[in-house]
């Protein structure tokens, strides 16, 4: 539990992450993901509850330092020193650990070898982020913490980071990451916990969570003009499991698209309503979040 004044940032979180697992904390901005991960990292003292990392509680002094030797941490907002080069930055971080990678090894891991001598200030966003991950990997961690590692990056840089995380896991490492990209969580994580307002509202494997919707497709449509359609009528359509009216469109969770869509079109035809939008997609964690909270994950 963590309080800031009267605001309870995180409460009632009960999670266990297994060794070798990649666990994702998922949620919108302000859900308490960063507070949670920083409590786990021993950077923010919790106001209540128990935290164990690699089987140990956080303690000051030598035990705490010994625990830190086994962790790799990337923080959301860190800006590394602009005037140092890539190699110098890694060299500095490496000096804090006993069994670290060499500079060359870790630069190879994050594919920054050509940027070895470049000043940090001259790096692109994606390169800076890979350098931040390099500083986390340099300790040869058993457990890697990544706080929104790909936020604000272009798709190519994002994919590069996913590959780096993938290779780290293949080598046996455990990962705990936060993200508000569903695609990222589905692709990287064995298990995810969806957070909202400082609480975990669902957790499980991405597949389990999506299956909890009861159907694996989502059909979204909107009507032109003032036309209305009763939700009750929609619920009776074949294959439709759930109806979610939204501000600008109606979403149907359906099991069989090939039966639901023709039935929907026939219904609208009978009522004389005209479609202004019709899309279908495979259900994602995004849909899980929307169905749990009634809100979109990102305000876009």
């Amino acid at each position: 539990m963590k309080r800031y004044g009267d605001v309870v940032a995180v409460a009632g979180l009960d999670l266990a992450v297994a060794a070798g697992e990649c666990f994702g904390l998922l949620g919108p901005n302000g859900a308490g993901k960063t507070t949670t991960i920083e409590i786990l990292e021993g950077l923010t003292p919790p106001d209540g509850g128990e935290v164990e990392v690699l089987g140990q509680p956080w303690r000051d002094g030598a035990p705490g330092r010994a625990l830190r030797e086994r962790l790799g941490i990337q923080l959301q907002e860190t800006q590394l020193a602009d005037k140092l080069t890539v190699a110098e930055t890694v060299q500095l971080f490496r000096s804090f650990y006993h069994r670290s990678h060499t500079v060359d090894e870790v630069l190879a891991l994050v594919e920054l070898e050509e940027k070895r001598g470049a000043r940090v200030a001259s790096l692109s966003g994606g390169q800076k982020q890979r350098l931040a991950v390099a500083c986390a990997l340099v300790s040869r961690p058993d457990l890697l913490f990544l706080d929104e590692p790909t936020t604000g990056l272009d798709p190519q840089s994002r994919r590069q980071l996913w590959d780096i995380i993938g290779r780290f896991r293949e080598a046996g490492g455990s990962v705990l990451l936060t993200t508000h990209y569903m695609e990222e969580a589905e692709r990287l994580c064995d298990r995810v916990a969806i957070m909202d307002h400082g609480k975990v509202i669902a957790h499980g494997t991405p597949r389990q969570l999506i299956a909890s919707l009861g159907a694996d497709h989502v059909v979204e449509f909107a009507l032109a003009g003032e036309a209305q359609v009763m939700p009750a009528a929609l619920e009776g359509l074949p294959g439709v499991k759930r109806v979610r009216p939204g501000p600008d469109r109606i979403a149907l969770t359906v099991a069989e698209v090939h039966r639901a869509v023709p039935a929907l079109l026939a219904l609208l035809e009978r009522q004389g309503a005209e479609l202004s939008l019709l899309t279908t997609h495979h259900a994602t964690l995004e849909d899980v979040f929307v169905s749990l909270t009634g809100r979109q994950l990102r305000d876009e």
């Binding site: 990292e41 021993g42 950077l43 330092r65 010994a66 830190r68 030797e69 962790l71 941490i73 923080l75 907002e77 860190t78 800006q79 590394l80 020193a81 005037k83 140092l84 110098e88 060299q91 500095l92 971080f93 490496r94 000096s95 804090f96 650990y97 500083c135 300790s139």
Partner: protein, 343 residues
């Protein structure tokens, strides 16, 4: 050794410093420019020729010629209004109104004017037939060590140690805090004491360059020497640099923003620039203030530096000022470590 965190932290600090051209100028260039400008402005050319005016009236030309004949006076005839204006604006030191009696108009609080009165009166009385009662002879000397530049260079050295200690440490700490770099370091097994010591060690390295640059410049340009031992001078500057680095850490221990820390730095440094006898002797302040002024670390350091450079005092006789400097440093460092905001 190469992998020791303290070595790497110190090296990083030094790299960040010397890759900042502005910092190089403020630490090395600025004191030298200041010493050069002030050394020129206050060079010992003597008082020169004193400008006096003679108010127009009967006998003005003769009187002006008499005064002008003196090597130490330059006299011009002015109408009364112009004369008064020039006297008020300091263009002339004194206005002579011819007549009987001759009237001297001047401001008796101005040293220059009082000097002019003596010179004018002397020239006038001699020309009217006064003879000297006693025989005298002048012996003129220029003592190295008594010039303004001799006073100034140790003061600039002290001021520079203060400035680079507080700026060098303060800005970097707050910048690292603002960029969440401090927090990132806290996420590693790095020891906090190593981080702070890294600042202090890197300061010592640059200290040698700073001191060499300023003392070397003073010697080459103005023949400002060091009378005491170089070893003592080195020891004092090291102590001063350590003490001010501690003060810098204290100033930066809580501030979250560059603006915030800038204000604090000025609050700490400005009073010392004025009070601590950098540009002029603090003996000019009222007696009641002197004990307070002497308790400031920059005053103590300046006193010790001047004692070594000008008087050649040995380190044994400098216990009191050096004690003040060391106490400030030690107390600041301990308090800074206690209240330091690490994230």
């Amino acid at each position: 050794m190469n992998d020791h965190p303290l070595y790497q932290l110190t090296l990083s600090r030094m790299r960040e410093f010397y890759r900042e051209p502005e910092a190089i100028f403020w630490v090395f260039g600025f004191p030298i420019v200041l010493a050069f400008a002030l050394g020129l402005a206050f060079r010992n050319s003597g008082p020169g020729e004193l400008k006096v005016g003679v108010a127009s009236g009967p006998g003005d030309r003769g009187l002006a010629a008499t005064l002008d004949a003196s090597a130490r006076l330059g006299a011009i005839v002015l109408d009364t209004a112009t004369g008064r204006l020039q006297l008020r604006t300091g263009r002339i030191a004194l206005l002579v109104v011819p007549g009987d009696p001759v009237v001297y108009r001047y401001d008796s609080t101005r040293t220059e004017s009082r000097l002019a009165r003596l010179e004018v009166d002397d020239a006038l009385q001699r020309s009217r037939g006064r003879t000297d009662a006693a025989a005298v002879r002048d012996e003129r000397v220029v003592e190295l060590g008594s010039r303004y530049i001799d006073f100034l260079i140790p003061g600039l050295l002290g001021m520079n140690l203060l400035g680079s200690g507080i700026w060098g440490v303060g800005f970097s700490v707050v910048q690292a805090r603002q960029k969440k770099l401090l927090k990132r370091f806290m996420a590693t097994p790095m020891r906090r004491s190593h981080y702070l010591l890294g600042f202090i060690l890197s300061r010592l390295v640059f200290l040698f360059l700073e001191v060499t640059a300023l003392v070397g410049f003073g010697w080459l340009m103005f023949h400002v020497g060091v009378r005491g031992s170089f070893l003592t001078l080195t020891g004092i500057t090291v102590l001063g640099a350590l003490s001010f680095a501690g003060l810098g850490l204290l100033v930066a221990s809580r501030a979250r923003t560059i603006e915030g820390v800038s204000g604090l730095m000025n609050l700490v440094m400005l009073p010392m620039w004025i009070l601590s006898g950098t540009f002029f002797s603090y003996a000019r302040f009222p007696d009641a203030m002197i004990p307070f002024v002497k308790a400031l670390p920059l005053t103590a350091l300046n006193d010790a530096l001047r004692a070594v450079m000008i008087d050649g005092t040995s380190v044994a006789a400098l216990g009191a000022p050096l004690g003040v400097v060391a106490t400030w440093g030690a107390v600041s460092f301990v308090v800074a470590l206690k209240i330091f905001r690490w994230r």
